[in-house]
């Protein structure tokens, strides 16, 4: 009995507790990201944003969640039921499990994988399935077109993201996310975005496209596709898509922070007394603010221009950067051991 407790039950309880400690704050963060989005865009458009439910409208996301929870889940008769149900679950699960390798602070990570960045890349490349499956299973033209657009878009921008990750890895010499952050300790001038500034910009734009956010939100272009791949979804199935999409935004911001903005490290050595997790949180918030800012500022891209940007501008640019970084490292004998 003692063996069973020590060998199996205790570790399992620990792991479940750790997972909950990541997932629950994440879901709260997602809820308040929607609130922040409405407030920020409201402020930029000289409106007030949500301000009725609770003080400053702070209970609005909870009310929205409750509303979605209480609605009826409608499955269209012509839909492919199994795939129709699985698609939102898949989107949501993928957005959650990627968090396993994100380091919040020194040693504060659920799974310190040696191939952490590849794991993240693999999970984010699966994200397209949820959307394509939803579009196909809905058996509707709007949903299908939205899914196809989204699929093509995500596959295209993944390539430039991959190449950007490679050029960062070349200077870090490790696939482990914690090691990538440790390579940037010492202050803001040590962070990767200083050395990879052009790629930092390309990366920010690429993650906008990868998460289907404005100005690249063609898959859900309201004007032409009603709402794209999730047009036939209602209630909790829709909520899962919504949660997944916003969790993905936070995840991509987290990845951006780890790769370019020094993860949990403080921007100045004198500020190191503040815990790393707080820095990490603040940095994620600032990247998320860029997401919202861009949405309120730029009009939507045309589809062919989106593809052109991905394949004819970002791909050659990030390729050239990989070459440049690799050559530099070899010529000046700075290849990390």
């Amino acid at each position: 009995m003692e063996l069973l407790w020590d060998g199996y039950i205790e570790p399992v309880v620990w792991i479940v507790a750790k997972i909950l400690a990541i997932v629950v704050p994440l879901l709260v963060a997602v809820a308040y990201l929607t609130y922040a989005e409405r407030k920020v865009i409201g402020a930029m458009q000289l409106r007030k944003g949500p301000n009725v439910v609770g003080p400053f409208g702070l209970l609005q996301p909870l009310a929205d969640g409750l509303k979605l929870f209480l609605k009826e889940t409608i499955i269209p008769t012509s839909a492919n039921k199994g795939v129709f149900i699985i698609a939102p679950m898949l989107t949501f699960i993928l957005a959650i499990i990627a968090w396993a390798v994100i380091p919040f602070d020194e040693g504060m990570v659920l799974a310190d994988l040696n191939v952490g960045i590849l794991y993240l890349f693999a999970i984010s490349s699966l994200g397209v399935y949820g959307i394509v499956m939803a579009g196909w299973a809905s058996n509707s033209k709007y949903a299908f077109l939205g899914a196809l657009r989204s699929g093509a878009q995500m596959v295209s921008y993944e390539i430039s993201i991959g190449l950007i990750i490679i050029s960062v890895l070349l200077t870090t010499g490790s696939l482990n996310l914690s090691d990538i952050v440790r390579g940037q300790v010492g202050g803001i001038w040590e962070w990767n975005f200083v050395y990879h500034l052009p790629m930092f910009v390309v990366f920010i734009v690429s993650i906008l496209a990868e998460t289907n956010r404005a100005p690249f939100d063609l898959p859900e272009a309201e004007a032409e596709l009603v709402s794209g791949y999730n047009v036939d979804y209602s209630a909790m199935t829709f909520a899962l898509f919504f949660l997944g999409e916003y969790a993905n935004m936070i995840l991509m911001s987290g990845l951006c922070v780890v790769l370019f903005l020094g993860g949990w490290t403080a921007p100045l050595p004198v500020l190191e007394f503040i815990p790393g997790a707080i820095w990490f949180f603040l940095k994620i918030c600032s990247v998320l603010f860029i997401f919202l800012w861009v949405r309120a500022t730029f009009p939507r891209y045309r589809y062919d221009q989106l593809m052109r940007l991905g394949w004819k501008v970002f791909l050659p640019l990030s390729f050239a950067w990989v070459m440049l970084v690799a050559t530099f490292l070899v010529v000046f004998d700075k290849v990390p051991a």
Binding site: N114, V115, L118, S125, L126, V132, L148, V155, D304
Partner: protein
Amino acid sequence: MVVQALAFYLFATVAVIAATAVVTVRNPVHSVLLLILTFFNAAGLFVLLGAEFLAMLLVVVYVGAVAVLFLFVVMMLDINFVEMRQGFLNYLPIGVLIALVLFVELAFVGATWALTDDKIAVLAHPTPAGLTNVEALGQLIYTDYAYIFQASGLVLLVAMIGAIVLTLRTREGVRRQKISEQVKRQRADTLEIKKVPVGRGI
């Protein structure tokens, strides 16, 4: 160890069931989705073997890219189930033949394994001691066999160019957007300011 064994049986069972379902289900889209499930479980088995790099590559390349293309193609198909079943008997002999060849090959592998006395000696080492398997693979590909690896890259490049040449069609009369020209456009190219005398027009 028990947990590992359980994980192995879970991945292996799901992989085998999903792989069987790939060839038996009616709907091709379901087939592709099950194929993806099979890939995913194979990746899980790789992780259990200690080859986590290969596992991630399997997911990134096959699940994340190749299978997406499969899915796109299959979803676009206009499927006629009756027609699909008509060719079944014609293709049966060649299908059985291929299956037989594969089965015999697998049986050979199994038999060599069963007949070897010193099983430890023939065990494939996942990685040389002291190296992570990314480093080990990197050394093999980029140090020991660098030229062969580059050559295989060239073969792929040729295949890619071939595919583009075969499918490239230039249509007459297509008006494409030339972004560089649009950016280069000066005010003088498009605007002309004319003085229009009152009552006469241009």
